[in-house]
């Protein structure tokens, strides 16, 4: 199907919903802002309580517009899920493909966006962030991620990455009055642009080797492997940068530490999920047939990422930076799953690793958003609560909050019965099943190392006295955050105790693909 017929429009309806939401948010911001200014200029003197009330209104209205938009997009996704019961369908001259794999990955991304919007209700105001740009860019970034997931040719892949990245660069610096925020965004931007250029160069070679930019057309082992391999190498690098694999990870600690926590978690979860989905799609449509010749590259990346991520996390004193390194480590675990896809039989060996990657991404989304939400919850003024030593004695002052944090930490460390354990279990199992036993062992060693730094937080919270009396008093009513924390913690327990159903969905989605 080439043109803009009804079916094609429906195929991108979730994205359209997100984009329209973005426009609605920005428009609403302008309108409310104008209304606020009008009552300032009309009266003899600007009444601060009136501007305050307009801020108050928009701080509630905007996230609600976003959440509504995401809910509508979920409705469309649900329709597509039922519509494409059998197989993925391609639209816009094969530019995008709609399948259950993409829908699940897209769902994870939008859940992340939803929870980010929800948790930002009081947060954005406290952080002195402009709502219109903030929520608009979140919606645009989510749309970019959705296109990245659905893209079926190199143009869509590149544009999806760029749309996502450009929005996220701006979001990193969204509290631009803070010096480290802008600094991190600048670094992220330079490295991102640099790796995009490398990615693009790789795409050129890929195109040169195969004569096509379409995923399905690039799968036949081409006549000249020379350019083809160069293309694979450079494209892998570009995607490895986006997922934050070592040694292309250096942007991640800076960006996660300096961005507002809501954005840190959104960027960690969304960008990672979308990039992994794109990587997997590229892999199984185009590259899998030659993967036995170069699986050593992702193998090496996975090992480096697991070890370096976990080791560096130990010596951190800032919890957001620690979570950033831990997110690098988690990238490593997922890369173990990616490696497990390689060099094995096409359809038989792929189901387990690919479905476990989907499951891992979902679990990772919940625990990461939850952990970052704690730093938002305890923060005051325009700061996040990010000193690790500050968590001492949290359990005595705020037992429920500490319990939630303990759940996230245990889940991140992979201790049963949290979701993180099941996710790791599935990943390592699939690696062993496909013969990557050493990789699994290194992964397990990494996760044992990780117990050190996750447990440290729990020990601090439960077994040390608080430093000062008033340090845990947060100054906002944060029902959005409460709900986010509850949802993520409950979700982790459910995914840990009853993973069967979700894994079944993932398997259905993956099987359809193969």
């Amino acid at each position: 199907m080439n043109g803009f017929d009804f079916a094609s429009i429906m195929a991108i309806s979730p994205e359209i919903a997100l984009l329209l939401t973005a426009i609605a948010v920005i428009t609403a911001d302008i309108c409310i802002g104008k209304a606020g200014r009008k009552c300032c200029t009309a009266g003899a003197a600007c009444k601060p309580e009136e501007t305050a009330s307009s801020t108050e209104i928009s701080s509630i209205v905007m996230p609600f517009i976003c959440m509504t938009g995401i809910a509508i997009s979920w409705y469309f996704m649900y329709n597509l899920w039922n519509l494409h019961a059998v197989n993925g369908a391609k639209y816009f001259s094969n530019a995008i493909v709609v399948d259950k794999f993409g829908l699940i990955a897209g769902f994870v991304v939008t859940v992340a966006a939803f929870l980010t919007a929800l948790s930002s209700t009081g947060y954005a105001k406290r952080m002195k962030i402009d709502f219109g740009e903030y929520y608009g860019l979140i919606m645009l970034a989510s749309a970019g991620m959705m296109f990245l997931i659905k893209g079926n040719n190199l143009i869509m892949l590149f544009l999806g990455i760029e749309l996502t990245s450009l929005s996220v660069y701006a979001l990193t610096a969204i509290s631009k009055h803070r010096e480290e925020s802008t600094e991190a965004a600048m670094k992220y931007f330079i490295l991102g642009a640099f790796s995009s250029a490398i990615l693009l160069f790789g795409m050129a070679f890929m195109y040169g080797a195969t004569g096509s930019i379409e995923f399905g057309q690039m799968n036949a082992v081409p006549t000249n492997r020379f350019l083809y391999f160069i293309g694979i190498g450079m494209m892998l690098l570009g995607l490895a940068f986006k997922i934050g694999a070592v040694p292309f990870h250096m942007w991640a600690p800076d960006a996660y530490q300096a961005a507002p926590s809501a954005i840190s978690s959104f960027m960690a979860v969304g960008v990672k999920t979308a990039s992994f989905a794109a990587l997997l799609r590229l892999l199984f449509t185009s590259l899998i047939h030659t993967s036995h010749m170069w699986y050593q590259v992702p193998w090496m990346l996975a090992v480096l990422t697991v070890l370096l991520g976990n080791l560096t996390a130990i010596s951190q004193t800032n919890i957001k930076r620690m979570l950033a390194y831990s997110s690098i480590a988690h990238t490593g675990y997922i890369l173990i799953g990616v490696t497990a896809c390689m060099g094995v039989g096409y359809s038989t060996g792929l189901t387990a690793p690919m479905s476990s990657i989907l499951f891992y991404l979902a679990v990772y989304a919940l625990m990461n958003i939850g952990a970052f939400a704690i730093t938002m919850h305890l923060g005051r003024e325009d700061k996040d609560f990010d000193e690790i030593s500050g968590y001492a004695g949290l359990a005595h002052k705020k037992p429920l909050l500490a319990l939630a944090m303990a759940i996230f930490m245990f889940s991140l460390a992979g201790i049963p019965p949290m979701g993180g354990f099941m996710a790791k279990f599935y990943i390592f199992r699939s690696a062993i099943q496909n013969g990557y036993i050493w990789l699994a062992i290194i992964g397990i060693i990494g996760s044992i190392i990780s117990v050190y730094y996750y447990l440290r937080i729990v020990v601090l919270m439960y077994m040390k006295p608080a430093q000062t009396e008033e340090q845990f008093e947060s100054d906002q009513s944060q029902w959005g955050l409460h709900f986010t924390l509850f949802a993520t913690a409950a979700g982790l327990l459910i995914l840990g105790l009853l993973p069967g159903d979700f894994v079944q969905y993932a398997i259905v989605a993956v099987k359809e693909l193969l």
């Binding site: 190199l154 143009i155 590149f158 544009l159 760029e162 450009l166 660069y169 701006a170 610096a173 631009k176 010096e179 480290e180 802008t182 600094e183 991190a184 965004a185 600048m186 670094k187 931007f189 330079i190 642009a193 640099f194 995009s196 250029a197 490398i198 693009l200 160069f201 795409m203 050129a204 070679f205 195109y207 040169g208 004569g211 096509s212 930019i213 600690p253 800076d254 530490q257 300096a258 010596s315």
Partner: protein, 100 residues
């Protein structure tokens, strides 16, 4: 007489020069310019292959890349202005708050 080897090696050279600029220059403005050189190199490679395959798809791709490059530069320079407000410098070594 069209010779793809020459064109591709030229694009590789441009790519390497751009990469040198990003790594070795400490002026963020010039680093951004170097990134543009790298993108240009990629475009050149694309067009070489388009000529090889007689395929207009790559032309579209290159056009898209140009738009993306323009958008990227806009965001990058806006960020640079932001950074300059805080640091009063475009020296990349002054971006040293965040480390370890």
């Amino acid at each position: 007489m069209f010779n793809p080897t020459n064109c591709l090696i030229l694009s590789i050279l441009l790519f390497a020069i751009g990469a040198y600029g990003v790594i070795a220059k400490r002026n963020i403005l010039i680093m951004l310019m170097s990134v543009e050189i790298m993108l240009n190199a990629a475009n050149l490679a694309f067009l070489t292959f388009a000529r090889l395959y007689n395929d207009p798809t790559a032309h579209v791709f290159v056009l898209m890349n140009m738009a993306v490059a323009a958008a990227e530069v806009a965001v990058g320079l806006a960020l640079l202005i932001c950074v300059f407000r805080h640091k009063k410098s475009v020296d990349s070594t002054k971006l040293n708050l965040l480390k370890w």
